[in-house]
């Protein structure tokens, strides 16, 4: 029966090529616009570390007190603690070491001096972190490993580099043990990463920005970077100017510039850590009630608004377009189906049940959907290729066509067309055979 309905549908669609073409185009464009914008939205709102995000938490501690709250005209109404830590709070949290794994971190941009004197030095983006960073975030290594807690404590001059920097400086290969000249000092390479560039850059969204197509090229011990006077590249937010000058002054100030992440394995660990933070804040800032937050990674990304509002607006507008396309297709299918009242009357009179009429017309709608979906797929591929032309490159680079998007596009097109065909089909099946046969 299915094959017969397919045949009927094809014949019917062929009969009025312009109308059929119009419906296919409508579905195709509607689906392509939604899928293109959705592919961008999916890319920017996704979980950057799905296997672990539930266990990662970001603590916030208010170092400024009630007078500072609400003074920032750029964030009206936000009375929560600022979104980074002071150096002293971050290092105190590290010393207490209450989470199973944790790392304070800040963004650096030191220059690397190539061994070949003919080549100019170049600067590389990096992050000063603690040794637990790598295990906590499942950072994939190609060669070697991260560094030990001892190296953190002893301010060892060690470095973990990206495979990109490894290729650039050492021509690839296992470079563990080689020396890298950073800002005129030698650092021993202890690990080389596989390609690792999670999007958004969830471990330090405050400083490193949210989406960045260029991965961090080096990671070195936090304490070493501080000892070497390697200044921070990201944002520095001060309520009061530091009392002392220079980078050392910044470290002893109430300015916030350190990002922090902790791994808490279960709900009770989270509760304990929250209690600990309250106690920590009470002890460090006895002048005001503890104002701390402990957000899970996904809640944190949401709080930091990492999803650009434009991607949401475009998705909604594109969905609006799809809705118009649905209504349009429904109108055209209704016209088409009602025109065939005579045919339906004959079929019903010859014994076709309502159910069979449903099947026949829904299959016809589904075929329009399938054709629209195939067209939509081509247009989506075109759209994703062209999206780099209209969106910021770092974001556009994230959108891609994969199997799931391919299947979803076809699925959405078919479901949309059948949805649009639902009412026209109901009407078609309601045709009274006797009346139709009489009228002609």
């Amino acid at each position: 029966m299915f094959a017969y309905y397919l045949d009927l549908a094809l014949r019917s669609l062929k009969r009025n090529k312009a109308l059929t073409g119009l419906m296919i185009l409508t579905i195709g464009f509607g689906v392509a616009a939604s899928m293109t914008t959705w592919s961008v939205f999916r890319a920017v709102s996704g979980d950057p570390i799905p296997q672990k995000s539930a266990e990662l938490f970001v603590p916030q501690i208010d170092p400024w007190g009630p007078t500072a709250r609400n003074v920032d005209p750029t964030q009206p109404g936000d009375i929560g603690p600022p979104d980074a830590l002071t150096y002293e709070d971050a290092t105190a949290l590290m010393r207490d070491h209450r989470a199973s794994l944790q790392s304070a971190m800040y963004q650096v941009g030191p220059s690397v001096v190539p061994t070949d004197p003919a080549k100019h030095p170049f600067s590389v983006p990096g992050e000063a972190v603690f040794g637990e960073f790598f295990r906590m975030l499942d950072v994939p290594f190609k060669y070697g490993t991260g560094w030990s807690t001892n190296s953190d404590a002893s301010r060892a001059q060690v470095v973990v580099i990206s495979s990109h920097l490894n290729d650039q400086v050492f021509g690839g290969g296992d470079s563990v043990g080689k020396m890298l000249n950073i800002e005129g000092h030698d650092y021993r390479v202890v690990g080389v990463l596989k390609h690792w560039n999670p999007q958004p850059r969830f471990y330090d969204v405050v400083n490193a920005g949210t989406f960045n197509s260029q991965p961090d090229d080096l990671f070195l011990p936090f304490n070493t970077a501080i000892a070497m006077g390697m200044t921070n590249q990201g944002s520095t937010n001060c309520f009061q100017s530091p009392k002392q000058t220079g980078f050392v002054g910044l470290q002893h100030s109430s300015c916030i510039w350190i990002a922090y992440m902790a791994q808490l394995d279960n709900a009770s660990a989270v509760r304990q850590y929250k209690t600990y933070l309250d106690g920590f804040a009470r002890q460090r800032y006895p002048d005001w009630a503890p104002n701390v937050r402990l957000r899970g990674l996904m809640a944190w990304l949401d709080y930091e608004h990492v999803v650009p509002p434009d991607t949401k607006i475009s998705l909604y507008v594109a969905l609006g377009l799809l809705l118009v396309c649905l209504v349009n297709t429904a109108g055209l299918l209704l016209a088409k189906f009602m025109r065939r009242s005579g045919e339906i009357g004959v079929r019903r009179a010859l014994g076709a049940s309502r159910r069979q009429i449903y099947a026949q017309f829904l299959i016809e709608a589904g075929m329009v959907g399938l054709a629209g979906g195939v067209l939509g797929l081509a247009l989506t591929a075109f759209g994703i290729a062209g999206i780099g032309w209209v969106l910021p490159r770092d974001i556009a680079a994230l959108a891609h066509l994969d199997w799931s998007l391919l299947l979803i596009t076809l699925g959405v097109a078919i479901v949309a067309a059948m949805l649009a065909g639902l009412y026209p089909t109901l009407r078609a099946a309601a045709v009274q055979p006797a009346w139709q046969l009489k009228s002609n």
Binding site: T245, V317, L391
Partner: protein, 420 residues
């Protein structure tokens, strides 16, 4: 025109009429809001920076192994390196003038802070961007001084990157002056950049926009303070005005000359926005507004698709109705209706449907705008968009219905006599 027969005919196609009305309404609602988004983005993109943007470029560089301390010796060393760079750049044949500056409008890297009118004021009066330059920024950037005077040679100074000295004199933008001193008497008044040290306003420039185009800077986009202080750090940034038409040459020369003066530095001559160190101001502007331009294009594409689909939908549905009513048309023609009458019939019918659609659509458009305002803190859409949208959709409807209506008017009266 006789309306009752049209309304009677429409009642027979309730579902089809409802669908096309709904489609017109949705189209109007989305197109109005999309065009509103496009226009507000274009307005943003066209905001001036207050500078003469031609022949201007920015060069960033980083010294390798430079002192990181903030002791006077280190600061002196860094400052002399920077002064050497400035002299090197100034002597280039294609360079007209050069200043060291911490950032530029639209460059995104932002220095900003609260500004108060009294010492120890806890809640700052407003927020402003800080531009630190130890040189004549007004001349090199091409800013317009509208009141007061420029800095004099002895007012320029320098300090460590994280030093505390506050400038005794500053130049502010007109927007900031008006915000702080609404009576227009800002000149000569003191403002507080850090709650303790007063800075006297000695000059006012017409405009200088903030480095950030992000929404967080929207409220103080025009508030800027020019500080006559050169910052000494392990990196420096130079705003360079090339001689007219010589920018490309000046950009090449500058990199070469700086390396020749001191090779232990980083200047990345190529690469993406995050790692390239030399940028014409035109490309800084282009990059800053890339997202806005993209959004405008995207909305434009969606509008075009929407209008095409709705137009085509009207053509399709009317063609179908014409096909269905050939016999009735034939009868009307046989009874004396002119071709013109038939044409007018379909056009009026479309006007009624589109009219209902745009009324509903106007309500939806305003509702959608309110929702976007709430969700994305967008501005209120002027009703002019809805009015123009209504006219466009009514015209689209009339245009779309014309071809099928014309075909209907050509139906011969003989059709009345045919049975099917």
């Amino acid at each position: 025109m006789n309306l009752p027969p049209i309304l009677a005919a429409l009642r027979k196609h309730k579902a089809g009429v409802t669908l096309i009305t709904l489609q017109i309404a949705l189209t109007l609602a989305i197109v109005c809001n999309a065009v509103f988004i496009i226009n507000s983005r274009i307005d943003r993109i066209q905001r001036p920076t207050g500078m003469n943007e031609n022949n201007l470029f920015l060069l960033m560089q980083q010294y390798v192994g430079a002192p990181t301390g903030d002791d006077p010796a280190s600061i002196q060393k860094l400052d002399s390196m920077q002064l050497t760079d400035l002299a090197t750049l100034r002597n280039l044949p294609d360079v007209e003038s050069v200043i060291a500056i911490n950032t530029l409008p639209l460059f995104n890297s932002t220095w900003s802070g609260g500004i108060g009118l009294k010492p120890d004021q806890t809640n700052s009066t407003t927020h402003a961007a800080d531009y630190y330059s130890g040189g004549d920024a007004i001349r090199t950037l091409g800013l317009h001084l509208v009141a007061g005077r420029n800095f004099t040679a002895d007012e320029y100074n320098h300090k460590g990157f994280r030093g505390h000295q506050r400038p005794p004199v500053v130049i502010v933008t007109k927007a900031l002056a008006d915000k702080l001193f609404p009576k227009g008497d800002a000149l000569g008044k003191s403002i507080y950049l850090d709650r303790t040290t007063p800075s006297t306003i000695i000059g006012i420039v017409a405009r200088m926009s903030a480095p950030s185009v992000g929404s967080w800077a929207n409220d103080w986009f025009w508030n800027s303070v020019l500080i006559p202080t050169r910052l000494d750090a392990a990196f420096s940034r130079y705003a360079i005005r090339a001689k007219p038409g010589r920018m490309q040459a000046a950009m090449r020369e500058a990199v070469k000359a700086l390396y020749a003066a001191n090779p232990m530095r980083v200047i990345q001559a190529s690469g993406g926005y995050n790692d390239r160190s030399i940028w014409s101001f035109a490309s800084i502007r282009k990059h800053a507004y890339r997202a806005d331009r993209g959004m405008a294009i995207l909305m434009g594409v969606i509008c075009v698709i929407l209008l095409c689909i709705t137009g085509a939908g009207i053509v399709g549905l009317t063609s179908f109705w014409v096909g269905q009513r050939r016999k009735q048309i034939g009868i009307r023609r046989a009874l004396g209706a002119t071709r013109h009458d038939i044409l007018r019939y379909f056009q009026t019918e479309n006007l009624i449907i589109a009219g209902a659609g745009v009324v509903l659509g106007a309500i939806l458009a305003v509702g959608l705008n309110l929702w976007l305002m709430k969700q994305f803190s967008m501005d209120r859409m002027s009703l002019a968009y809805v009015v123009v949208g209504i006219i466009v959709l009514l015209l689209l409807g009339q245009g779309a219905v014309f071809a099928p209506a014309l075909r209907a008017s050509r139906v011969s009266p003989v059709e009345a006599t045919r049975s099917v």
